[in-house]
């Protein structure tokens, strides 16, 4: 038997297929694009699995089109994280359009969680827009920001206002790496508060696409004073969790 999990996010779709023993058979990733169902169909086409579970913001669309069971991102990330880090009690997941902090009980159940409710402040989308405003490739954004000697203060967390704040800093001739560093720092300040509210101590496992950004990790560790652990492929954790749960279905 093979089990698949598909995580349909706002920016990317991940598909993970596992065998009975829990080994990863394949792991695919694609941009969500404008038609998530079609993209998902393309991805699962030709991939062998006996059962699939969907998660991510597109899970309900997938459920309707493919008659598959679904699970929320929150539980999927919790499950996926515990597969790699059996003792993890705190998960931070930052994807394209939302960020969430999940506190787990010792047996791995979701105890409490918090997520941003309406806007894209502090999410992958925010970083993408800011990287573009500063002329960085998103892949290099964090690495470049880490090179800055100091951090410029960015006060606005709203994507729209922050962008105009960045524009005016550029116009004043400020260093763009320092602006970049400041943007990362402003997100981290907000996240630190959210993490402390939900889970006051212990290591934090950082998942989702934004975990690939080295500046986010470094600043988070520094600000939080706690160890931040990043899985090998942080973007695939949701899909992996869904695949594991597909395997556990009766």
């Amino acid at each position: 038997m093979q089990f698949a999990g598909i995580d349909i996010g706002s920016r990317t779709i991940e598909l993970v297929v596992m065998d009975q023993a829990g080994g990863i058979v394949s792991s695919l990733k694609a941009d969500t694009g404008f038609d998530p169902v079609e993209e998902a169909r393309r991805m699962i086409n030709g991939v062998r699995f006996d059962r699939i579970m969907a998660t991510g913001y597109g899970r309900n669309l997938f459920e309707i089109s493919f008659d598959a069971p679904t699970v929320t991102e929150i539980k999927a990330h919790a499950r996926g994280t515990r597969a790699f880090f059996p003792g993890a009690l705190t998960v931070l997941d930052i994807g394209g359009q939302d960020s969430k902090v999940i506190a787990l009980s010792t047996d791995g159940r979701v105890k409490k969680f918090e997520m941003n409710d309406r806007c894209a402040a502090g999410t992958g989308k925010f970083l993408e827009i800011m990287a573009r405003a500063l002329g960085f490739r998103i892949e290099d954004f964090g690495r470049e920001a880490l090179l800055a000697e100091k951090s410029l203060n960015i006060s606005s967390m709203c994507t729209v206002f922050a962008e105009s704040e960045v524009t005016s800093l550029i116009a004043r001739g400020q260093s763009r790496v320092e602006i970049a560093r400041g943007l990362h720092a402003s997100i981290i300040r907000r996240l630190t508060g959210m993490i402390k509210r939900v889970s006051p101590e212990g290591d934090v496992v950082f998942t989702g696409g934004v975990a690939n950004n080295p500046c986010m990790r470094a600043l988070l560790e520094e600000n939080l004073g706690r160890r931040v652990i990043i899985p090998e492929d942080p973007q695939a954790i949701g899909a992996l969790g869904a695949a594991l749960m597909a395997a556990e279905l009766p």
């Binding site: 913001y57 539980k75 939302d98 979701v110 409490k112 309406r118």
Partner: protein, 425 residues
Amino acid sequence: MGEDYRRMWTDLGLDLGAHDALVGALGKAYQDIYLAQKDRPLGMGYFDFVMSEVHGLRIRELLDEKKAGRRIIGSYCVFVPEEIVLAANATLVGLCSGADFAMEEVERYLPRNTCALIKSSFGFKLGKVCPYFESADMIVVENTCDGKKKAYETLNDLVSNLYVMDLPQVKSENGRELLKTEYNRFRKAVEELTGVAVTAESLKQAIRTVNAKRAAIHRLSSLRKADPAPISGLDALLANQVFFYDNPARFTVSVEKICDELEGRIKEEKGAFLAGTPRILVSGCPQAVPNWKLPFIVETSGAVIVGEESCVGERGTRNLTDESGETVEQMMDAIIDRYFQVDCAIFTPNPDRLEHIREMAAEYRADGVIHYGLQFCQPYLMEAIPVEKALEGQDIPCMRVETDYSMEDVGQLKTRIEAFIEQLR
């Protein structure tokens, strides 16, 4: 019939085009949210009918009552004592405040950062789409939260028949004294409006009528303790919403009829949801018609709502008025005692509310509590934090939701609510 209503609405001064749009949207929402539910009790047919005629037949009835010499009083709050209204030969109706309407117009009068409920009450007036408001001979508003208090100052410039009731904010002797003064002043105002004096006999009868209506709701609530839940939270909420509009005696009979049916269902272990479905208690701000957003999301995400700790729910209907008084004064005292127990978040401190949430969670066997707060509603949003802490201290999962009447956060809300429900399984 349809033409008749149109003439009636025109005579009331409604904006027919806007009203058509509202009624159309309401009908569609009712179809998608209510009629799409499975395994509903047959007795809900009555409420489906009431909703289909909420701006039609019910308004016609109120206008007929007016013709026969009764007066109509509109209100927005459970502190307005229906007993006094009925005893003086008037009818009390809840006024519309559960949907966004004419928001651009509203924001000329109220700041944008005002709670959805207050804005909505203005929207229905300014958009000329609430036949209840336009039928009312007196609009009773009350000094509860700051938002309402100040908004009513503005509303007073828009209408000629506003009556402002002051309310205490502390449960002290002075507080009770204030409520007493205000209820007596209100009684006089209603008597003046109707020209009918409240007598011991009429007040006793009114207390009985309102108590019967509350007792029917209590019976309905207690049937929701069963697993499987015999009725959906949406349907039970609707009954609690119609409580504010319907003829009291007819409402009582209709709720009792549903209860008989539900008792049969419970015996057969039939439910609106499967046994073992996660059970949610909703606590917080009132949910006025047609604000069905939260229960709709909850009940299409795999859980059932088993109680509402809310003004449109148990906070509003808890406790009967003592019927044993013989004089008007004794009965007025009983009425004051009854209403003074309402644990609205405008009171400080307000420990009874937390106690009631705990009690309800235990009684209705809720697996978790969703605290429903309207954005910018300071009293409830402020209480939400200590409520959540206290519940979690007792291992009752709690999630705070802060939202409004718009649909823009439905996707995010659904994810959060689904995850909360997963947490309860």
